[in-house]
């Protein structure tokens, strides 16, 4: 099974940052059965990485692997749209219950 790799840029330990991380981890468990790596970068601590990644909005999630590289902005609160935007496989079970 392909291992997915994500980098999540957040700004400080705010509610929004926590929500984004929780939502991303939830999607990893649900759609990828945990076969994923999540690296969280706090731009307040590592502005150099924010600069390098050209991050404007936070939270921003970047799918580093597998290719193509995809970016999504926001706290990923809409799981269905977030999964689609990040190119994750379909969720098990009837989709209408999940949307």
């Amino acid at each position: 099974m392909t291992t997915y790799s994500f980098r999540l840029y957040v700004a400080g330990t705010t509610e929004r940052s926590k929500a984004a991380e929780a939502n991303l981890r939830f999607l990893c468990d649900e759609r990828l059965a945990g076969a994923c790596e999540v690296e969280v970068v706090d731009v307040a601590e590592r502005p150099d990485l924010a600069e390098e990644g050209r991050v404007l909005a936070t939270p921003t999630v970047v799918r580093l692997a597998p290719p193509p590289v995809l970016r999504v902005v926001g706290d990923l609160s809409d799981h269905g749209r977030a999964a689609a935007a990040l190119g994750l496989p379909a969720a098990p079970g009837p989709p209408e219950e999940r949307l």
């Binding site: 840029y9 957040v10 700004a11 400080g12 929004r16 929500a19 984004a20 939502n23 731009v43 307040a44 502005p47 150099d48 924010a50 600069e51 050209r54 991050v55 404007l56 909005a57 936070t58 939270p59 921003t60 970016r71 999504v72 902005v73 926001g74 706290d75 990923l76 609160s77 809409d78 749209r81 977030a82 935007a85």
Partner: protein, 509 residues
């Protein structure tokens, strides 16, 4: 700073030619100023200059946050203005925060977000360079990229507050939909509304005319109204009249007299012209204005001094030929390095560019005399107000350098019978000496008449004298008696007639 509420707002001089004069010192310190304008109005140039002149003139590092143009393009466009941005980047005095990346354009938004990434990057760049100045250029691109305008406005407000907390002075640029509607396209104004500068690039009388207006500076004084500016390929933004006014040292007045080039005129003016005088010679075509101007120029060369002639009526060749007809060898004067002729029809450049060209010629050539023949030609391409600004501005520079100046004016358009147009009247009010040439009717004959209507600081001849023109030039003759005084329209008569003149010419009662 005082505690009684009359706190003077501290200013940060931009270093932009003429702007600080209009802004009475510069932009409000540690605040954001919105610079808005339509596409091509010069917003980015203003922003680039604010940072670059900060480094050049005040040794203040800067951060350029670009949302639109890539840094490579900005570096390239700035090189022609003599701003070595790349070198400054290497020296750690200039940093880009590149938010122009198209990568982020395509990122869809799912759920709530803020601009924490941008804020962190700007803060990082400011700390890294020790920046005192920050530019955000331009907000329009952000609104195009993020669908929720309310979020963008809220986040931009946070960023500007963050910049204030960092103690930096910033310029934020934004688009305007039209020259005279609203301040910005996206309702950006509420969050930086404290300080607003509008750049315009409007079509006026069929020509592009750039103006700058300070719409508001919160709690800070500034000059009002639209100021004409140009974007010079080498000098950047130059606000024309203030750029000249800034050169004025004021107060000083020369007591040295020089010759006008005509002994009769010198006598009428009370013994020659003061060295720092601005002289207006008005009269209809064919009266001898250009002849007077050329004699004035030749006198400089004869005494080993330099004269600059700017002619808007003729080509250089035509002027040389006409001068030859009066026995003046301008070519020889040019060859000796004592004369320079700058010619060009008014229509070939904007009035602001004419100003700059004259100023540059004055700086390069350092003349002791200047001739502008005729000022009226500029009326074809410039508004009356702009022409007056031109004269005021030129006058300030010329007085500082004690350059004796002769301006000629001919009636254009709706001239009053005496041959003095409204704008000439206004210009005359600014000149130190006003010599009027006109036709006077006497015994059924049209005679040429000369009057010195004004000669500031001199006891001059108030009589109307006849004059003739022959191969030797203008010869001033006897007073013409019985000729009615000049009709001067509806202007304030006190501006025309010094008290002494009224006393002499009009017997009491």
């Amino acid at each position: 700073m005082t505690m009684d509420g009359s706190t003077a707002i501290e200013r940060v001089p931009t270093g932009i030619d003429g702007f600080d004069h209009v802004a009475l010192g510069g932009l409000p310190a540690r605040r954001s100023t919105l610079v808005s304008g339509t596409t091509g109005s010069g917003k980015t140039v203003f922003a680039v200059e604010f940072l670059a002149r900060g480094i050049l003139c005040f040794d203040e590092p800067g951060v350029f946050v670009t949302f639109e143009e890539a840094p490579a393009g900005i570096r390239l466009n700035s090189a022609s203005l003599g701003f070595p941005i790349e070198r400054w980047e290497d020296e750690g005095r200039w940093a880009f925060v590149d938010a122009s990346d198209v990568l982020t354009d395509e990122a869809p938004a799912v759920g709530a977000y803020d601009f924490g990434g941008l804020a962190a990057r700007v803060t990082y760049a400011v700390r890294r360079t020790g920046a005192r100045r920050v530019v955000l250029d331009s907000l329009g691109a952000l609104f195009a990229r993020f669908a929720d305008a309310a979020v963008v406005r809220r986040e931009l407000l946070k960023i500007t507050l963050g910049l204030q907390a960092l103690g930096v002075t910033s310029v934020v640029t934004a688009e305007r939909p039209g020259e005279y509607d609203g301040v910005t396209r996206h309702g950006v104004e509420p969050f930086v509304m404290d300080n607003v500068v509008v750049l315009r690039n409007a079509l006026r009388r069929g020509r592009r005319s750039r103006t700058l207006e300070i719409v508001k500076f919160r709690g800070a004084a500034h000059r009002t109204g639209e100021w004409i500016f140009t974007i010079d390929p080498a000098e950047g933004i130059v606000l024309v009249p203030p750029a000249f006014l800034a050169a004025s040292t004021g107060g000083r007045a020369s007591t040295v007299r020089v010759s006008s080039g005509n002994a009769g005129l010198d006598e009428m003016c009370g013994g020659g012209l003061y060295r720092d005088a601005v002289v207006l010679v008005s009269g209809p075509t064919g009266m001898g204005k250009t002849l007077t101007a050329l004699r004035f120029a030749a006198t400089a060369a004869e005494s080993g001094e330099r004269c600059l002639i700017c002619t808007f009526d003729e080509t250089r060749e035509q002027l040389l030929r006409d001068a030859g007809g009066w026995g003046l060898d301008l070519r020889a004067m040019e060859a000796s390095g004592l004369l320079r002729v700058v010619s060009g029809y008014p229509e070939v450049a904007s009035p602001e560019d004419h100003f700059l060209r004259i100023r540059r010629s004055i700086e390069e050539f350092a003349p002791t005399r200047l001739v502008v023949d005729t000022l009226s030609s500029l009326e074809r391409v410039v508004s009356q107000r702009a022409l007056l600004d031109f004269v005021i501005a030129l006058g300030a520079l010329l007085r500082r350098d004690e350059i004796t100046t002769l301006l000629t004016a001919a009636p254009t358009g709706h001239a009053v019978p005496a041959g003095v147009s409204a704008v000439t009247m206004e210009i005359a009010g600014l000149a130190d000496v006003w010599i009027m040439l006109r036709y006077a009717e006497r015994a059924g004959e049209a005679r040429r008449a000369v009057t010195v209507l004004r000669a500031r600081g001199s006891a001059h001849d108030h009589r109307i004298r006849e004059f003739t023109i022959d191969g030797g030039g203008m010869r001033i003759g006897e007073p013409l008696n019985g000729v009615p005084h000049v009709s001067t329209g509806n202007a304030d008569p006190t501006a025309l007639w010094p008290p002494s003149a009224r006393a002499t010419d009009r017997p009491p009662g």
